[in-house]
């Protein structure tokens, strides 16, 4: 099979799982005939019919609430939000119901649902189309947050998310929906949730990142390698829970930590990772940990967008500072 894009991998996983599990249904705005605004659900309605591929009225709170209701009855609903920036009306259901149904009923009812949303900036979109708010969801007990960063991980992690019996926020980095391509084996094999993926081995710095920043991080690692600095690049992938074991094991080799994320700095996931290292693996560090994040600003309209996106150079510079200041 030819190489496919990340969005095609999402589509492939949806096709696979709907084919194999009659309880899987998908719902959202424009997902039927139109195949979703990014075409993630292309062809599904034609294959599985309008009872399993459901165009909803334009109402995000409804979409989330209906998903909770369906999941409570043993379906495995997958809800699509057109953009992460439109998930706010649904927050009440995600936080108050999806996250709590199992606990509230002491396991009598559960919420095996996936809430998908494209996220992140860099596609010259209008306001409210560039949000990166994974930390908000990671903060909520009862939710899990997963972010794929390659076609293969989009395929395997989405399958795992659908099969999971817990509610999962599945955020897709839309900037790389079509720019990264790779081979994906359509074999129905899920990847483990709750686990990091080490994408590049290195000895000098542990770089932890996720989503679209993985692309620039790997590029920066190549550049730095020419200058004798070897980065170990880790794709966090599971934002909640965080796999600290992989990160700590890497720090045992490198002793230096750099976290890179597109989301705003304050109370971001980078703060969480660095705190955990400070709490339990401080002695492994040869230098203060560093984070390279988005700014604590509202994402500007696209004329200024590039200044706010993390560039390859930003990562190179941050890594150099981390090496130089504390040799």
């Amino acid at each position: 099979m030819a190489d496919i894009t990340l969005i095609e991998a999402v589509n492939l996983a949806l096709h696979y799982e709907m084919q194999h599990d009659p309880n899987v249904v998908i719902l959202g705005e424009d997902i039927g005939e139109n195949g979703g605004v990014f075409r993630a659900t292309l062809g599904l309605k034609q294959t599985f019919g309008c009872k399993r591929v459901i165009d909803t009225p334009l109402a995000e709170s409804l979409i989330a609430g209906v998903t909770v209701g369906m999941a409570s009855q043993g379906l495995r609903p997958i809800a699509e939000f057109q953009f992460q920036g439109f998930i706010f009306p649904a927050m009440e259901h995600l936080v108050c119901h999806a996250a709590r149904l199992r606990n509230r009923t002491r396991g009598r009812l559960t919420c095996p649902a996936v809430f998908r949303a494209p996220f992140g900036g860099g596609i010259h979109a209008p306001e409210h189309h560039s949000e990166s708010i994974e930390a908000m969801f990671a903060h909520i007990p009862g939710l899990k947050v997963v972010i794929p960063s390659s076609p293969q991980r989009a395929y395997g992690l989405l399958l795992a998310a659908i099969r999971s019996n817990d509610p999962i926020l599945f955020f897709e980095p839309k900037r790389i929906y079509r720019t990264v391509k790779s081979h994906v084996e359509n074999n129905g094999l899920a990847l483990p949730l709750e686990q990091c993926f080490t994408l590049r081995k290195g000895t000098d710095i542990t770089l932890v990142t996720w989503g679209a920043c993985v692309v620039e991080s790997l590029q920066a690692a190549e550049t730095l390698s020419h200058h004798g600095i070897e980065l170990e690049v880790i794709d966090l992938a599971s934002i909640k829970p965080i796999d600290m074991a992989t990160i700590t094991a890497s720090l045992e080799k490198t002793g230096r930590l750099l976290v890179v994320h597109e989301a705003a700095k304050t109370c971001g996931v980078g703060a969480e990772i660095i705190t955990r290292v400070a709490e339990s693996a401080m002695c492994l560090l040869k230098a203060p940990p560093k984070r390279l994040t988005g700014f604590d600003t509202i994402m500007p309209y696209y004329r200024n967008e590039d200044y706010f996106m993390i560039q390859h150079d930003d990562i190179v510079n941050a890594a150099r500072e981390l090496m130089e200041g504390w040799q």
Binding site: L62, G65, V66, H97, T105, G107, R108, P241
Partner: protein
């Protein structure tokens, strides 16, 4: 004009007089059963408030005045149907077979109060939703449940309930709208008790009647006297039957009045005239049915006092059981969060257990010394 005297679906007026021939289903035994159930849940309610006042229950929302609505809902639904209730629906749950003990447990601050046992031999797993505290959210869940039934081809109907205040919220309107578009087996029941805490109906809604909202959604609407259990049960039977036959959703506006404070944390006298409440008592659903039954020689004061004895016995037994329950272990908060806890949660769980043990030791030390 008092909304409770307006024309609407009604068989027995507030003086206990029959104003229309009773529907076919209305046999003497069933009416007596309705009456007994209403009396029982009213006395339960009184007891629950007393428990709260003496520190044995958390904040509790009384259902005083809403007995006919709940008992009708719980009795009309088949055990295989699914209920998405709101917090004032103890009577509906009771009539569906959920015990008083379970309700005490819930308001007593124990999640096990929502772990309902099966109520149907056909369905080993109880699919009813727990109470939703965020107003109106249960309506969207009910849409999902009803849609699930349609997808699975099951002839099970979902009933969602809410208050009049809840109809202002997007979730309610989004749900109604979607139920129409999807033509799903769903019945909405609004308990229009005319107050949402301190906000009266006219500050909540400018439509003439809440049931008018059904029109906007293209579904059937019935305005029912919520204090006439015969009318309530009848409207529910019709709507459930229509839903079961694939003919779509119905909105029932059950017109009633909240005869009580909003909850035990509320003092309604701060915002409500005594005169209004006094008038509302004339429409009491229980007195109405009792008058009718006595006039028909279907009930007597002797039977009443015998039944009251039984009620008190049953209520006291539930309270005794409730007070004797052991509290869930503190770490249970971790045990139902995810299917499987991650390593950090295990660590936090252990930390909590240590803390709880330390506190218990201190407490027992304090008592001894």
């Amino acid at each position: 004009m008092n909304i409770q005297t307006q024309p609407m679906h009604r068989y027995i007026d507030h003086r206990g007089n029959l104003i229309a021939p009773l529907p076919e289903w209305a046999n003497d035994t069933l009416l007596q059963q309705f009456y007994r159930d209403m009396v029982l849940v009213r006395h339960y309610d009184k007891k629950a408030i007393a428990l709260q006042r003496t520190g044995k229950l958390g904040t509790y929302p009384s259902h005083l005045g809403a007995e006919a609505i709940g008992i009708a809902i719980g009795s009309a639904m088949q055990s295989t149907d699914v209920l998405a209730p709101y917090y004032r629906d103890m009577p509906a749950l009771w009539a569906r077979g959920i015990s008083m003990l379970q309700n005490l447990q819930y308001w007593g601050g124990d999640e096990l109060g929502s772990s309902f046992p099966s109520i149907s031999p056909d369905i080993p797993h109880n699919d009813d939703m727990p109470f939703c505290v965020p107003i109106s959210t249960q309506c969207t869940h009910a849409v999902g449940i009803a849609a699930a039934m349609k997808i699975k081809g099951l002839h099970r109907v979902t009933v969602a309930t809410c208050g009049d205040g809840a109809t202002s919220k997007g979730d309610f309107l989004e749900s109604l709208n979607c139920a129409g578009v999807w033509n799903i087996p769903l019945v909405f029941v609004i308990n229009n008790n005319q107050w949402a805490i301190s906000v009266p109906l006219h500050l909540q809604c400018h439509a003439e009647h809440l049931v008018d909202k059904a029109k906007g959604a293209g579904i059937k609407g019935i305005m029912v006297d919520g204090n006439d259990i015969v009318a309530m049960y009848d409207a529910l039977l019709q709507s459930l039957d229509q839903a079961r036959k694939g003919k779509g959703a119905t909105l029932i506006e059950a017109v009633s009045y909240r005869l009580c404070d909003h909850t035990t944390a509320d003092d309604a006298s701060r915002y409500r005239e005594d005169e209004e409440v006094k008038q509302a008592w004339q429409f009491d659903p229980i007195v109405r049915l009792k008058t009718y039954l006595i006039n028909q020689n279907l009930w007597s004061e002797d039977e009443e006092s015998q039944w009251l004895d039984i009620c008190h016995q049953r209520i006291n037994q539930a309270v005794e059981q409730y007070l004797a329950l052991t509290v869930q272990a503190p770490e249970s908060a971790f045990d139902y969060l995810y299917e499987k806890a991650d390593p950090d949660l295990h660590y936090q769980r252990d930390a909590l257990i240590n803390k709880a043990m330390r506190m218990e030791k201190q407490n027992s030390g304090g008592n001894n010394g």
